[in-house]
């Protein structure tokens, strides 16, 4: 039985390495302004080559997202991005606009139909199967509806462009939008900033009071009336895999590398344990605890289990149990002694602190500090801000990797 593919987000090189090191089978990334995270840090066209080389080295697939609405003045840029993608063997393009789909078809790049196209039934899927290979279903479907679609693909032998059965991709973890599959106009109305051009200002995540025309304000339990909790499927992942989908997607190109690392690792372990028949209650509790340590707005199961009403968060920002604070930068790494020399330039560092090391090539590593040495090579318990210290590691780190302290939120 072919294992399900775990698709992780890569918003920058740190996240890319974090995803690779945590066991992702594939990654997706966006370039320039034509993707749904135009406001966060993005790759440039010239990065396609480097990303492709990195992924080839680790033998994982790479997909490019090009799923905004496209205007006439974007046509040349779309062509340029797709030509580069073809040149550097990108494994697929996640598309919404018909021109992008058509041009990718022309270049014979496999197409993923984005969730932005809202595919909710078999007949629409049949229509798009002529132009694509993988279809991301709408996030509002429940598990029975997904299973029906997956079974029907096998039964009716619905094939994609490359004469293989159409694959189904589903969102497994990450933020949920209050509008249907991301098609929201709130941001455009309030800030002239279109969410469908990747410039969502997240109006739904703010606090609101509800008033009628007589200025009577309504008593509401939760002021975050539109801020949906995050989707998490780790506690019923076996049911998701049973539906017959092929790709499990994690949302979060705008999120931090440690989020990508922790979530990818937990889902990878969960997938492995399902295939090994040891997906147990205790393990689920352990993964849930791990995932709560990184950015989240509280979790619910989305629409997969057929809820009649959405669940809304009651907090601004993250409900994560821990957060990271920047403390310093790696100045050098001595290979023979396996120690790193760190310049502490913010806060202090103590014995028994947990630290994240984040950066190029390494992704995200977490470690507990057992020994600390100062500049004169004396063993100490604390290093104050502004000093240089030496820390022993059991993995390779690189110059300019950043050090963060993990503290309670």
């Amino acid at each position: 039985m072919k294992k399900i593919e775990l698709l992780s987000p890569a918003g920058n090189y740190d996240s890319l390495y974090a995803a690779i090191n945590s066991g992702a089978d594939s990654i997706y990334f966006g370039v320039e302004q034509l993707n749904m995270r135009a406001l966060s840090s993005n790759f440039l066209i010239k990065d396609i080559k480097k990303i492709s080389n990195i992924c080839n080295r680790f033998n994982i697939k790479k997909y490019i997202t090009l799923n905004t609405i496209i205007y006439d003045n974007d046509i040349l840029l779309v062509k340029k991005i797709l030509n580069y993608s073809k040149l550097y063997n990108i494994d697929g393009v996640i598309a919404m606009d018909n021109f992008v789909i058509r041009y990718a078809n022309k270049l014979k790049i496999p197409v993923h139909i984005s969730t932005q196209l809202n595919i909710t039934n078999l007949e629409t899927l049949k229509f798009y199967s002529k132009y694509s290979d993988i279809i991301v279903l709408s996030r509002e479907l429940n598990l029975n509806q997904i299973k029906f679609i997956c079974d029907s693909i096998k039964k009716n032998k619905i094939k994609g462009r490359f004469n293989k059965l159409i694959k189904i991709e589903m969102f497994a973890h990450g933020s949920l939008c209050m509008a249907i599959s991301g098609k929201c106009y709130l941001s455009l109305h309030s800030d002239n900033s279109s969410a469908n051009r990747g410039a969502c200002k997240q109006n739904c995540r703010r606090e609101y009071t509800v008033k009628d025309y007589n200025n009577n304000s309504y008593k509401i339990e939760n002021k975050y009336i539109m801020s949906s909790k995050d989707l998490s499927t780790i506690n019923f992942l076996d049911k998701i895999i049973n539906t017959g989908i092929s790709i499990l997607k994690i949302e979060g190109r705008g999120k931090s590398p440690e989020y990508v690392s922790v979530v990818t690792k937990c889902y990878k372990e969960a997938i492995e344990s399902i295939y090994n028949n040891n997906y147990t209650y205790n393990k689920i509790k352990k993964w849930e605890k791990e995932i709560k340590k990184v950015y989240n707005r509280g979790f619910w199961s989305g629409y997969y289990l057929g809820k009649n009403i959405g669940e809304w968060t009651n907090k601004s920002g993250s409900s994560s149990l821990y957060k990271k604070i920047y403390i310093g930068i790696v100045k050098n790494y001595l290979d023979k002694k396996s120690i790193m020399i760190v310049l502490i330039n913010s806060y202090d560092i103590k014995i028994n602190d947990y630290i994240y090391i984040i950066g190029n090539k390494i992704g995200v590593k977490i470690m507990k500090i057992k020994e600390l040495y100062n500049e004169k090579k004396n063993k100490v318990n604390i290093i104050k801000n502004g000093n240089i210290c030496t820390i022993k590691t059991n993995f390779r780190v690189y110059k300019y990797n950043k050090i963060y302290k993990v503290i309670k939120n």
């Binding site: 320039e32 302004q33 034509l34 135009a38 406001l39 205007y71 003045n73 974007d74 046509i75 040349l76 840029l77 340029k80 800030d191 002239n192 900033s193 279109s194 051009r197 990747g198 410039a199 200002k201």
Partner: protein, 76 residues
Amino acid sequence: MLSIIYNRKKCIGCSNCVLVNPLYFIMSKLDGKSILLNSINKNGIYTLKLINNINYKYIIKSVKVCPVKIIKIIKY
């Protein structure tokens, strides 16, 4: 005297500035971002010094409509 400062790297190509200030902005078909006409580029920051008798109310429109707030008007 006023000048328009435009941080082109962060442009998302919504073309709102072109709509309200067509005298100063046009859309580029090469990369889908807008271009500040006759400006000087310094590390991706484009500057256009405006001469006298410029209608401030007219040029401030592009500052207001830009969703990513990358257009600024400053006095020099």
